[in-house]
């Protein structure tokens, strides 16, 4: 029969039990499990039409509606004075950008409409490529871990053989993909709109430029990963989805502004600057991911976290 056992000593008066360090899981990362978690989360997202409907709408507004209206208005303005005023504002752009506009639009032969619409398409819409994926991915990522806990499915994951790092990375991918795919598709449509509307003014299709390719493939993904690494950490720590949405909004807003300014600067500064900005963003993203992986624990999936 059971022996009598002394219970653990209570904490000192007025103090709670100390927080325990989270159990670290080490060993080889299993990419198959990451893919499984990501695929299942994406399947659920596809089923949530009430979520992705507005998100597609957001992408459409930024990549299609606004550029079409602005570029079409600019190229169709009949008043020469108005267009020249817009062209004069281009003089505030950096020299490198002005040279690019001159050379790409036919130099002195370029029309003011051509120069203004080229500048708008190439330089001023750049931040859109960052704002859209960050907004969508943040919205998905904020609910991803706390949502598992709220629905009770965190219990299933916590007891499964999947490692917490695999769960974290799978959820990060599942949050990153919707934002990035929306951006890539939106970018394709945006390129078509730009070439169709501005192309005839500057002597043919010209978009995407080299900097835009680098921006999309090299700068946007790390900014997205960096933001998500923070958002998922928050999602693992807060108690409700509503709190996660609020907190991630606070975190992602400054990051969106940084990404906005950096991407604009990348386009103005030439390919080399874009590569450097992207490289720094990747470095920060890797650091963010490494720290983020530690934020998820089985206790947090169960909703009983008292870990540091």
């Amino acid at each position: 029969m059971t022996a009598t056992i002394d219970p653990p000593a209570p904490p000192p008066k007025g103090q709670g039990y100390p927080q325990r360090p989270a159990q670290r899981e080490t060993g080889r990362i299993e990419w198959g499990q990451i893919a499984t978690v990501a695929r299942t989360d994406l399947k659920q997202l596809i089923q949530a039409k009430d979520f992705w409907g507005p998100m597609v709408g957001l992408g459409a507004i930024f990549f299609c509606v606004v550029p079409t209206i602005l570029l079409f208005s600019l190229t169709s303005i009949a008043t020469v004075d108005a267009v020249e005023q817009i062209s004069q504002t281009l003089e505030v752009l950096p020299d490198r950008a002005q040279e690019s506009i001159q050379s790409s639009t036919g130099g002195d032969d370029a029309t003011p409409q051509g120069q203004a619409s080229y500048a708008l398409a190439v330089f001023l819409f750049a931040p859109v490529a960052v704002v859209v994926p960050l907004t969508i991915s943040t919205a998905v990522g904020a609910a991803t871990i706390v949502g598992e806990r709220e629905r009770g499915t965190g219990e299933f994951l916590a007891h499964s053989p999947a490692g917490v790092r695999e769960i974290y990375l799978g959820k990060l991918l599942a949050s990153l993909i919707p934002g990035y795919v929306t951006t890539v598709v939106g970018f394709g449509i945006y390129s078509l709109i730009v070439n169709l509307i501005v192309g005839p003014e500057v002597g043919g299709w010209f978009f995407p430029t080299t900097q835009w390719w680098i921006l999309m493939a090299w700068v946007v993904p790390p900014f997205l990963a960096l933001t998500l690494s923070l958002v998922l950490r928050l999602s693992a720590r807060v108690k409700s989805t509503a709190a996660a949405q609020q907190a991630s909004g606070l975190v992602s807003l400054p990051l969106i502004m940084v990404a906005y300014s950096q991407s604009t600067g990348a386009l103005f500064g030439g390919a080399r600057v874009t590569w450097i900005i992207g490289g720094l963003a990747w470095l920060l993203a890797v650091l963010g991911l490494r720290r983020g992986m530690r934020a998820v624990s089985r206790a947090r999936l169960l909703g009983v976290a008292d870990e540091q």
Binding site: M1, P7, Q23, T40, E155, H159, P161, R298, L302
Partner: protein, 340 residues
Amino acid sequence: MPVVMTLPSVPSASAPDRAPAGHAPVVSLDRVERTFGDQTALAGLSFTVPARSITVLLGPNGAGKTTCTRVVTGALGPDGGTVRVFGLDPATDGPEVRRRIGIVSAKPALYDRLSGLDNLRYAAELYGLGRRDVAARRIGEAAERFGIAGALDQQVGGYSTGMKTRLALARSVLHEPELVLYDEPTSGLDPESSYAVLELIREMTGQGNTVIMCTHLLLEAEGLADQVVMLQDGQSLVQGPPDELVRRYWPDRTVLIDAEDRAALAALAGEPGVHDVRHRDDGPATVVVDDLARIPDLVHALARAGARVTRVEAERHSLEDLYFAVRRDSGENRIGEVVQ
């Protein structure tokens, strides 16, 4: 402070009937402690689970049953004590341990937006069955076995509570686990569904699984358990096979016997195996015997003495009786300690 009950031991096999002799326990907890903030969930819990047996963790809400299952899978690490599952430490060999365990939580923990099939596929992939033939075959078999094959294409959000439990049960055995943990698996089910679920659990031990089930429903445990562990405040009050525990708690067997001529009942005191006869003028006598197998002899003795027997009723103590008796005693002890 919780008090651990000490019941007298009786000469009996300590392992359940289904457990093969000489096998190492599948689960072994030794003085396990776990706190959440200033709340103590497990306060030195110790018990072992023999292979191919059903162990039922009994206790009120907050007794530590769920924490216990979480410590067994390694989802939570203990603050103190030793946990061994299949001889491994779940804190360090978590993936290996969890791969060999199936679990159904108190909430079914299913993805409502996915179909039943997608829920099972997700589990199959995470438990290493892949996405092809093996997974498809196991999913088909489990769905048939738990009667949900016809509903696999439906979204789980539209399932009834019973169907969700069946799906969760099917998911728990997809990977053919050696140990299955059920945390109140019949919670929220109607009596028919509960019965079906318990039958399925019983079936599983017949097929070689070891089962740990948490419940506070004593009737469920009574018919199912090879071993019960009664928990309170994170400690085991008593543990063992239900019949054996009843025998330990009530070592004497009692029989209520009545006759038209109650004075004749006094003759029973001299019969072999009778320890005591307690007379009451207004009711049957309570006869304490060493074995209920003595009853025919007692009736025969009364007949020989010319008494007309009107009532013979063996007193049987259920697990429910035991549970409340143990908890009552434990409570009394606690009050005593507080007073001291």
